[in-house]
């Protein structure tokens, strides 16, 4: 089975060097792109490949690019920005790609920047990823030395200045318009859309923001072709996916597998199954901002469409497991505390609704809950849901809550009889 994204990963965890990356066919995709394809052809091929964004939303990458103004009349200043602000609780896949094979990302950035004709690209990296920052800096310098970045890349006439920006830590920066504000040195509140970043993004210029894993797919699509890329998957969504598992399994970790691998295979075969004494009660399939699924959903392929039909989202593809010894209400409280803290405070439903949610859950757990609190929580899921807020943070925060209220209702109701709970059903 082909594992293009992780093929250069080394058992000792050190980064693939430029020589190692090139020995495995690295930078051949870029070479081909620069020598053989016009920018619109690059965009078309990515559309044909069916690649969808790996940052959580799953938007088709080629389509995203196609809204960037091209040609003579287009602004000369354009930007490609790498979203490396991996802060979704449960997600740790981009860290592995950045630390394990930084040149793969650089090649992907160069291809993406050429496709939209951007002379400048930024990697927006979360501040805590110190090792990734160090390895990226070294790799960027190496690439510049070898004419793979900078002026006149590989003699093609295309030039790209790639810069690393290390952020100072805030979840909202992963939202693409908040990220752009942050990169401009402003408070990272999201922006209203339209205008979309493709037309008016960083410093008001056409900008594409792509996730790390998304860009890492590009070199392989161009080196091996669209048919090959589609053959990697088990379902309609092409390519491979880096799936991860955290929680009480025997071997937590991340694995590159065909898109559409089932959660059962990921959890039981790759993560070694649940630890002794623990049973699986539910799981968040794609990070903190995705709806819970149940053991009965384990055989559903982990791809965008199938997980969507089951009522959740593939998100980042990194599963967080809820076991039978962990209280779902307390788990949801932890998630909502995260979202309440990380809300930028810009729009009212999010700024006020999330602390309200946290307060209700805390009251419930402390034995002060009233039956109508559960109805209020349900109402909040609607009030903070899609369409009522500036960005996707609050709707994302409601996903685990609304699904927990549906699937683990009895656990919420148990807290309404405080005396019987004392200590809870859970350790």
């Amino acid at each position: 089975m082909d594992k293009p994204l992780t093929r250069n990963f080394k058992p000792d965890g050190s980064a693939a060097t430029l020589a190692e990356y090139r020995a495995g066919g690295g930078y051949e995709g870029l070479k081909k792109v620069l020598a053989e394809l016009a920018p619109p052809e690059v965009q078309q091929r990515v559309k044909d490949s069916g690649l969808r964004g790996r940052g959580g939303a799953g938007f088709p990458t080629g389509l995203k690019w196609s809204f960037v103004p091209m040609g003579e009349d287009a602004p000369k200043a354009k930007y490609l920005v790498v979203n490396g602000d991996e802060m979704e609780p449960g997600a740790f896949k981009d860290r592995l790609l950045l630390e394990g094979d930084p040149h793969q990302l650089i090649e992907g950035v160069a291809i993406g920047a050429y496709a939209i004709q951007a002379p400048i690209a930024y990697i927006f990296l979360r501040g805590e990823y110190r090792l990734a920052a160090e390895r990226l800096r070294r790799a960027i310098a190496e690439a510049e030395e070898h004419k793979l970045l900078g002026e006149n890349i590989l003699g093609s006439g295309f030039s790209l200045d790639l810069r690393l920006h290390t952020s100072a830590g805030r979840y909202i920066c992963g939202e693409e318009t908040a990220l752009l504000n942050s990169l401009e040195g402003k408070r990272a509140n999201p922006r209203a859309k339209p205008p979309f970043p493709q037309v008016s993004g960083l410093f008001g210029k056409p900008t594409i923001v792509n996730n790390v894993e998304t860009l890492c797919n590009l070199p392989h699509i161009f080196r091996n072709g669209v048919d090959w890329y589609q053959s990697l998957s088990r379902t309609g969504d092409p390519g491979t996916k880096i799936y991860g598992v955290s929680g009480r399994v025997k071997r937590p970790g991340a694995w590159e597998l065909p898109m559409g691998t089932t959660a059962r295979e990921i959890i039981e075969e790759h993560a070694g199954g649940m630890r002794e004494g623990f049973r699986l009660k539910g799981y968040l399939p794609g990070g903190a901002s995705t709806d819970f699924l149940l053991p009965e959903h384990l055989d559903i392929p982990m791809d965008f469409g199938s997980i969507g039909k089951a009522g959740s989202r593939l998100g980042t593809g990194t599963l967080i497991l809820l076991d039978d010894k962990t209280c779902p209400v307390r788990m949801v409280l932890n998630l909502e505390q995260f979202f309440a803290q990380e809300s930028c405070g810009w729009c009212t439903p999010c700024r006020d609704g999330l602390p309200w949610t946290v307060g209700l859950l805390e009251g419930l757990i402390e034995g002060q809950g009233r039956p109508e609190d559960l109805e209020t929580l349900e109402r909040l899921c609607g009030l903070l849901g899609p369409g009522n807020t500036f960005c996707a943070l609050a709707p994302g925060a409601m996903e685990p809550l609304q699904s927990a209220l549906k699937y683990f209702r009895a656990d919420f109701e148990r807290y309404l009889q405080p005396k019987k709970v004392s200590g809870g059903a859970y350790a």
Partner: protein, 157 residues
């Protein structure tokens, strides 16, 4: 001036990379914080002036981010992850242990000025939870015994 000539030069250099100098706000705050430990009001004013921003604008940036400190911190800040996977696997026990061992609560600094204890959101290493950072270094699969090994006797009350 509190900023050193070196720091001013580096900040100006960073600011030169952008169409507007204010875009280097985070870079500038990071540079200053590296040298001075935290961002005092005086530092904030100096940086704002260098970047052509009002101190209020820069403060709205400085107060927004988890890794910019607007109050004094110890030489090494301990950021323990309290997000979901770490929480499930013992982050609270680790926090309690650290708090007792160092004799400080969250947001406090040890008497010798060595450690400050702060929570942080998901550090992106959930496969090796619980995770925490001490200064620049990230530690994985942490439990109270491992914390004793890492910290030794230093910082003990």
């Amino acid at each position: 001036m509190i900023l050193t000539p070196d720091e001013i030069r580096t900040i100006r250099q960073e600011a030169g990379h952008f169409p507007h100098p204010s875009a280097a706000a985070i870079e500038a705050l990071n540079i200053a914080q590296e040298g001075h430990g935290w961002i005092s009001d005086e530092l904030l004013k100096e940086i704002a002036e260098l970047l052509g921003m009002s101190p209020a604008d820069l403060d709205s940036v400085a107060t927004f981010y988890n890794l910019i400190y607007r109050r004094p911190v110890g030489r090494r800040v301990i950021h323990y992850c309290n997000s979901v996977s770490c929480w499930m696997l013992g982050a609270e026990d680790n926090c309690r242990h650290l708090s007792e061992k160092l004799g400080i609560g969250l947001g406090e600094t040890t008497g010798d000025g060595e450690y400050t204890l702060l929570p942080i959101v998901c550090l992106g290493a959930c496969d090796r939870a619980p995770v925490l950072m001490i200064g620049e270094e990230t530690h994985f699969n942490v439990d109270p015994a491992k914390l004793d090994d890492i910290l030794g006797d230093s910082g003990a009350p």
